[in-house]
């Protein structure tokens, strides 16, 4: 027996998958997608612990396909194989009872080519108590608020054709903000697979130095256009907005893509802009929930011009195209913006006078057709004069289009990129990430 609590999760999943396969009738295909994690979450406020918890969860999405009909159920499992085999059998029986009531799906696609694989990163995470001690020490005498998330995350796929895929990694992400007063704060992060007290202490010291700058009188800004530099953290917000309905086939074919004017040839992005979905170097599994294995790379935009869109198996069938194994939402998991030529050490000089924007917040489209976004500056952002940081900025609202920010007004991308993990923990810890350089923009519109 391979209970999840006693043996490896992979062995437990394979035992469940074998049971599913044995229960599958002739003419049927069954698939299973497993999402499991054991997570420690610790919240800090006022340099003390607010909430600390350990979460163990296992969920299996079981799908039954027969006669061009498909039905699925996602169910939590206990992690005890004997009980979970019985649960799986009951779920499958219920799906089998209900499948005849499901209409035929003309866009159903089934991964029939068996492509198994396994990727397991060793677990070298710290004891959360060690992290708590470090964070509380860094916050002593300060107003620190933050969040630690760490632990192993597992994703698995299996089908009754014999395919088995496994992805297991153990990582942590600590995000914390040192507050000076009101909304004046420096946000920092430390993410990885192996905790190092010295690295964290260095990051904490750098954040404290930045915080000191926020004590200066802020620069009063009027609405208008300004030169601006966006750090990779801020760029991640722009790219995250584009990922939301801008890069998928369905949104493009139904004329709803926020990059429709790019696809139609009415607008272009800057020649320095090359966007890719690249599994290697990201944090997401190399396979998706229906069992399709992702290509190493999908080139989405090259030198400012559209090349491809993310195509799920369903869209591939619907629109008569090749799938590139995108997820059902056709959102990137491992988006990469290629680097440019601007050296990090030259950023302030190249900006000369304008906005140094560390973080953006709450982006949304104010005009989807025009790919126009609104949002806020947040955390430590600064006014730069003659290549030197001169004063902190108050939070400001912007409203501008991607065709200007990454198009006509883009001046340079930095030579260095940063991997920005997606810290989302809605329901489960995200495995998405973005790798991006910083960007220098000649004119950026503030509105309020």
């Amino acid at each position: 027996m391979h209970d999840a609590t006693q043996d490896s999760m992979q062995e437990y999943f394979h035992a469940l998958a074998d049971h599913m396969q044995s229960l599958t009738h002739a003419g049927e295909i069954t698939t299973a997608w497993l999402a499991a994690e054991t997570s420690d979450f610790v919240r800090f406020n006022k340099s003390a612990v607010r909430q600390a918890m350990n979460i163990r969860q296992i969920a299996l999405t079981l799908a039954l396909i027969a006669g061009d009909r498909r039905i699925e159920v996602r169910s939590t499992l206990a992690g005890r194989l004997a009980d979970d085999r019985a649960t799986l059998a009951a779920l499958l029986a219920q799906l089998r009872d209900d499948l005849p009531q499901v209409p035929v799906d003309p866009y159903l696609m089934i991964a029939r080519e068996v492509q198994s694989g396994s990727q397991i990163a060793p677990n070298a995470l710290p004891d959360p108590q060690q992290v708590i001690e470090c964070v509380l020490a860094a916050g002593r005498g300060r107003d620190l608020v933050g969040f630690y998330a760490g632990g192993p995350v597992m994703r698995g796929f299996a089908n009754s054709l014999g395919q088995r895929n496994w992805h297991e990694s153990a990582s942590f992400e600590l995000g914390w903000s040192n507050y000076l007063r009101g909304d004046k704060a420096v946000k920092s992060s430390y993410a990885g697979t192996r905790w190092d007290d010295v690295t964290f202490a260095d990051k904490a010291r750098f954040a404290a130095e930045q915080l000191a700058r926020l004590g200066d009188a802020p620069k009063a800004l009027q609405p208008g256009t300004y030169r601006a530099y966006f750090t990779p953290t801020a760029m991640n917000e722009f790219l995250g907005a584009l990922a939301w309905g801008g890069l998928g086939t369905k949104s493009q074919r139904t004329r709803q893509s926020t990059l429709m004017r790019l696809h139609d040839g009415e607008s272009t992005l800057h020649p320095a802009v090359t966007l890719r979905e690249r599994v290697a170097g990201g944090m997401a599994p190399g396979f998706q929930a229906e069992g399709y294995v992702k290509p190493a790379e999908v080139l989405l935009v090259e030198h400012g011009r559209p090349i491809a869109t993310l195509t799920s198996p369903r869209s591939a069938r619907e629109y008569g195209m090749e799938s590139n194994a995108a997820n059902a939402m056709e959102m990137p998991d491992s988006l990469v913006l290629d680097p440019g030529l601007l050296a990090q050490s030259d950023v302030l000089a190249a900006l000369d006078t304008g906005l140094y924007i560390s973080n953006l917040w709450y982006l949304n489209y104010s005009d989807r057709q025009a790919c126009r976004l609104t949002g806020m500056t947040r955390f430590a952002s600064f006014w730069v004069e003659n290549g030197r940081i001169a004063a902190p900025l108050p939070v400001m609202r912007f409203d501008d289009t991607i065709y200007r920010i990454l198009g006509s007004r883009l001046e340079a991308l930095t030579r260095g990129q940063e991997l920005v993990p997606d810290g989302d923990t809605y329901g489960e810890r995200s495995t998405r990430s973005v790798r991006t350089p910083g960007a220098l923009v000649g004119a950026f519109t503030l509105t309020l």
Partner: protein, 480 residues
């Protein structure tokens, strides 16, 4: 099975200052027909438990999808370790907080259970709605969906408190996208985020006019295609309930959540421009503004008898005659802040701990008819159905956009306009509230998608509101 879990928990609960179990058992089905093609049904069964331990002033939580006796014992051990380790390192002495000891039952009144329709009949209903949306060749995408959820919750404390609640949620949605001559416009029945959601059974579909609404949705998408952009300038703004719900949510609900005011959310969701000293005296809006926290309106999406820390829920005024009265904070936040609040410590599921959420937050009806409000406007715009929302981390500087606008000129509704947006500052916006619609304009709405917290939680909220008129607002449209 629940009885066995109850016995196992009580047998395993350690001798500590406080120990509680919250068991959640939720089943859901989501059906969609897009472009008259049914998609595969998506069902879910989500069962798990969270245990809470308070010991020597420390607080620890642990959650598990293994609700066997062994699973619960393991969770209790993990929660206790965190409680012990965080003792003396926490924002408060949790042992000094009087945690509620609830007793009772609650169930959503369901008049017409969804199970009355077979799966095939539910698909047939969706197919009829979908077909009715395809009224023109320019409708290039359309869909109809039904999302039904049943949730059973059991809350126990080791010293004998017990609350059992059964909820039924129904979320119908219709959307249509029109395209012609390089322009695309989308319209939905009540927003991309399901404004017509309510508790109940198939009767919710009647409230949403679900069976008959698709032609209206598609027709308005076509109207928007031909419409000019909303003009820019300062003018009166008439917000209908399906935009009022977003306005209430972002610029009253979130800033009044007590955990934000206490700073818990500053690393992620943000802080608040509201400070503890404002309660009891701060003028939040004009004297026409009455806002209630109301968990007692049974059809509303976030009604309940007890919150997830066990506090009994009751209706409270949050803002009365424009003056701020009390924050949205549950038992723990109330104790930390030394203020009275409401029963709104809520968790999205068994795998997340309770935090302060707004639940049902409503603007009470006033005395104006819709016709009176329109007639009173010389130049203005009526906006329906939220499409875009963004607000700063203090919940002050906002910019919101709607799917559908209609100009008001000289007291009469005039041309339809597309991409209507407006911006403002929460602290002054509500003081420009000039007229509040009467009960005939009042709608009970909500959304399943309010996000907040670390770890993140997306939770159901309800917002009921009349139409409201605001004076002298900064309005603008899309790019030319």
């Amino acid at each position: 099975m629940t009885e066995q879990i109850e016995r196992d928990f009580l047998a395993a609960a350690p001798a500590v200052d406080f120990c509680a179990l919250r068991l959640v058992d939720e089943t859901a089905e989501n059906l969609t027909v897009r472009q008259d093609v049914p998609e595969a049904p998506k069902r879910s069964i989500d069962r798990g438990a969270m245990v809470t331990v308070i010991e020597r002033g420390g607080l620890g939580y642990a959650a598990t999808s293994d609700v066997s006796a062994a699973g619960l014992r393991d969770a209790l051990d993990r929660a206790r370790r965190y409680a012990q380790f965080t003792a003396g390192r926490s924002v408060a002495d949790y042992g000094a907080i009087a945690m509620p000891r609830p007793a009772g039952r609650y169930a959503t009144p369901v008049r017409d259970a969804a199970e009355r329709l077979s799966l095939a009949e539910r698909f047939e209903l969706l197919m009829q709605v979908s077909r009715a949306a395809k009224i023109d060749a320019r409708i290039v995408d359309w869909d109809a969906s039904l999302w039904e959820t049943r949730t059973r919750q059991l809350y126990l404390t080791a010293d004998g408190a017990r609350a059992e609640q059964d909820f039924a949620f129904m979320v119908p949605t219709i959307s249509a996208t029109a395209h012609a001559d390089g322009e695309t416009q989308s319209r939905s029945s009540a927003g991309r985020y399901n404004g017509f959601c309510q508790q109940g059974g198939l009767e919710v579909l009647d409230h949403a006019r679900f069976r008959d609404d698709a032609p209206r949705v598609a027709h308005e998408a076509l109207q928007l295609l031909a419409a000019p952009n909303c003009p820019s300038g300062r003018m009166d703004l008439l917000l209908m309930p399906d935009q009022m719900m977003l306005q209430i949510h972002e610029s009253i609900g979130h800033p009044l959540e007590l955990d934000r005011i206490l700073g818990d959310e500053r690393n992620f969701a943000g802080t608040s421009f509201v400070t503890p000293g404002m309660f009891g005296s701060y003028r939040y809006g004009s004297d026409l503004l009455d806002v209630t926290f109301d968990p007692t309106r049974t059809e509303q999406f976030a009604s309940y008898a007890f919150d997830d820390d066990g506090s009994p829920a009751q209706r409270e005024y949050i803002i009365r005659n424009g003056i701020l009265e009390r924050p949205l904070g549950g038992a723990v936040s109330q104790a930390r802040a030394g203020m009275a609040g409401v029963a709104n410590a809520r968790a999205c599921s068994w795998n997340r701990p309770p935090i302060d959420r707004m639940a049902n937050l409503n603007v009470e009806p006033g005395r104006s008819t819709l016709q009176d409000m329109i007639a009173s406007i010389e130049l203005g715009v009526m906006m329906r159905t939220n499409a875009s929302w963004s607000i700063d981390d203090s919940r002050n500087k906002f910019q919101f956009g709607c799917e559908y606008g209609q100009m008001i000129r000289n007291g009469k509704l005039a041309e339809v306009v597309r991409n209507p947006n407006y911006r403002g500052i929460s602290a002054t916006f509500w003081r420009s509230l000039a007229m509040v619609g009467d009960a005939s304009t009042f709608e009970v709405m909500g959304t399943p998608y309010c996000g907040k917290g670390e770890p993140a939680q997306v939770i159901r909220v309800g917002h009921a509101s009349p139409a409201c008129r605001f004076g002298d607002i900064d309005v603008f449209g899309g790019a030319a």
